[in-house]
């Protein structure tokens, strides 16, 4: 495909993206844009980030061949890109380290973030502890309940967690509240957005900081297999781990890029988070992308068993890749994801995050067919320790019924 089309023009990916924000934020986005460009040209910035990723985060992460998973899926080689082995247990920290460095460059002493599952909140709190920045995390109070462990981790790291009781009380409303905070405190505060969503330049900043996942994978698979993968699979809520691993392969038309959304209780039930499969173009949180919405343009509540995918929007670059036919997007139910959560634990001794379990469920179901295209790589975006109490609760409730 034409690589130029992927380069955002005025913050757009095709017709998607843009900067649909209150006027108060325009100056801050301009400031961030120029700080990011300057950082990109500064070798010292790259060196510092690289050293942090190596010594603090633990990169590169392994590309691990999961032989028992292969057998169970009934096909050829399946590799897991082990983002769960990053410090703090997920890919989120790749982005927060980069953005915390940007905050410091801009002289902003206060950082805010939204979080769903709590992984981005923990990764932000971690970066803020390291750089001695004041840190406030917004989290829907439904998520505060289902991700109690991560709430305590954030507090332990010195962050203040503010529970949001407005609207759907999940990631969408935590994001609204973070944006309101940013509008109010914009002069001394940097908003570390957690996914490839939001107004330009956020989707490309987050993608660029996450692109290390795909760069490493590309090198590793060529060493291990002597060729590129046939398929790359990743779960998609906002879509940052997916964009991170896809980016290095977008120019390779032979590599099938598959994003797995959350079908919740089934897309027919209306209780799901499959924005790309079931939504239509709309504007939320500053960007034009696919969006779950009703006939009147009101944002529809999303649902997923996994708090990190429970979001009615999706990153604009995914909308672009889908419409351009460069990536395809499928969906997996809560039930199937819970099944994969158990299977990977038993098969490989790896407890995946519930978000990641969506990508694994797809590979388990379609593994044989996928393997025909060549090696399969799954972005193992996070570890599942945070989900253990939540899943145990669901299963206890299920057993009582």
């Amino acid at each position: 495909m034409n690589s130029k089309a992927v380069t955002p023009d005025m913050g757009r990916f095709g017709s998607f993206g843009g900067r649909y924000v209150p006027e108060t934020l325009v100056a801050a986005l301009d400031e961030l844009d120029s700080a990011y460009s300057a950082a990109g040209r500064d070798p010292a910035f790259h060196e510092e980030l690289q050293a942090l990723l190596r010594d603090f985060v633990g990169r590169p992460t392994p590309l691990y061949r999961a032989r028992r998973l292969e057998e169970a899926a009934g096909g050829g080689p399946i590799y897991l890109k082990r983002e769960d082995l990053n410090h703090t247990g997920a890919h989120k920290i790749n982005n927060t380290m980069g953005q915390a460095l940007l905050a410091r460059r801009m002289g902003k002493r206060r950082v805010i973030a939204e979080t769903g599952a709590g992984q981005h909140g923990v990764a932000t709190a971690t970066a803020c502890a390291l750089f001695d920045l004041e840190c406030v995390i917004y989290m829907g109070d439904e998520d505060v309940e289902r991700q109690g462990l991560n709430v305590y981790r954030m507090e332990l790291l010195g962050a203040e967690v503010r529970a949001v009781s407005a609207g759907t009380r999940t990631l969408k409303d935590a994001t609204n509240e973070a944006i309101r905070d940013w509008v109010t405190n914009v002069t001394d505060t940097h908003y570390i957005i957690g996914s490839v969503v939001g107004p330009d330049p956020f989707p490309r900043i987050v993608r660029d900081f996450q692109a290390v996942i795909g760069r490493e994978t590309r090198e590793q698979i060529q060493t291990l297999e002597g060729r590129l993968p046939g398929v790359v699979v990743a779960c998609v809520g906002g879509g940052s781990n997916a964009m991170g691993i896809f980016h290095a392969f977008v120019e390779d038309p032979g590599v099938d890029l598959v994003g797995v959304e959350a079908a919740g209780e089934g897309v027919a039930s209306g209780r799901h988070s499959a924005s790309l499969s079931e939504g239509r173009p709309g504007v939320l949180h500053g960007a034009l992308s696919y969006l779950l919405q009703d006939e009147d343009g009101q944002v529809a509540p999303a649902h997923s068993v996994s708090a990190g995918l429970d979001y009615p929007g999706v990153g604009p670059e995914h909308a672009f890749l889908m419409e351009a036919g460069r990536a395809r997007y499928v969906s997996v139910t809560d039930h199937e994801a819970l099944g994969a959560f158990h299977r990977l634990s038993r098969l490989e001794g790896i407890i995946p995050a519930l978000e990641t379990a969506h990508a694994l469920a797809f590979v388990l179901a379609e593994g044989k067919e996928l393997a025909e295209h060549g090696p399969v790589v799954v972005s193992l975006s996070g570890r599942g320790d945070k989900d253990v109490a939540h899943v145990a609760g669901i299963e206890r409730a299920g057993a009582r019924e």
Partner: protein, 298 residues
Amino acid sequence: MTGPNEMLFGLQEKSSVPDPRPSSTPTAPLSADTGKIAVAFRRCAEEGRAALVPYICAGYRSREETLELLVAAADAGADVLELGVPFSDPLADGPTIQRASYEALRAGMTVRGVLDLLRAFREERETPVVIFTYLNPILRFGADEFLQAAREAGAQGLLVTDLPAGADPELEGKIRSEALDPILLVAPTTAPGRVEEVSRGGRGFLYYISRTGVTGSRSALRESLAKEVEEVRRRSTLPVAVGFGISSPEQAELVAQWADGVVVGSALVEELDRGGVADAAKFLGALRGAMDRRHAPG
């Protein structure tokens, strides 16, 4: 800004001489209706007072009550009305207008419902109306269809909170050519050079946000506000109305000395909660009275 014309906080009132600057720069064929907002502001300037611009969330408490409130506001001396389309994710709004939006949606208000309300209001009064909305409901309605429907329902202006000047030239062009006045916002964070650009893209009036933050009443205005308003007025070819946080007759009186208009939203919702349309109208009357109080030149 310094110099002989420097305005000291709250001591000097703005010139009440009619502003010779063109307050509307037509770029498309305009119907006889366009310019009604400009006319309203010009009339205020001629009378040496500031325009009162209440924000009313469509469908809050009930459709009937919104219609009553619109009429009462017009009768209490509103010069221009802002009619708000409720949205599920009002991220530029504070708790009061968020709550009004959610309740209006729960009570069944829709974009079509807002246009119906406006049509009903037009049977009663001629006060110019600005539709105040987030972008997504009008995108879903269909931008072209919405602009035409809004025009036909009797709107004169359109303010889209999450469409800052320059964000979507195609859509902004459509709004201008649909003979609705684009009401654009300037914030304390807006770069000085950009104020002129924003002003050029708007018509009717320019909306100055009194502080960084979301909507909602505050007990105090920022000390630098008078100077900021003066600076924006100097750079703008349009009259400048000030909103966000103005919640008492005293504050309205003060702001009316610097600005061409005063926008009141959250405080009006709070009055509506306290005592219904009657109290809300009384509150607007008090604002009107305070704003029209004559001040000896400083």
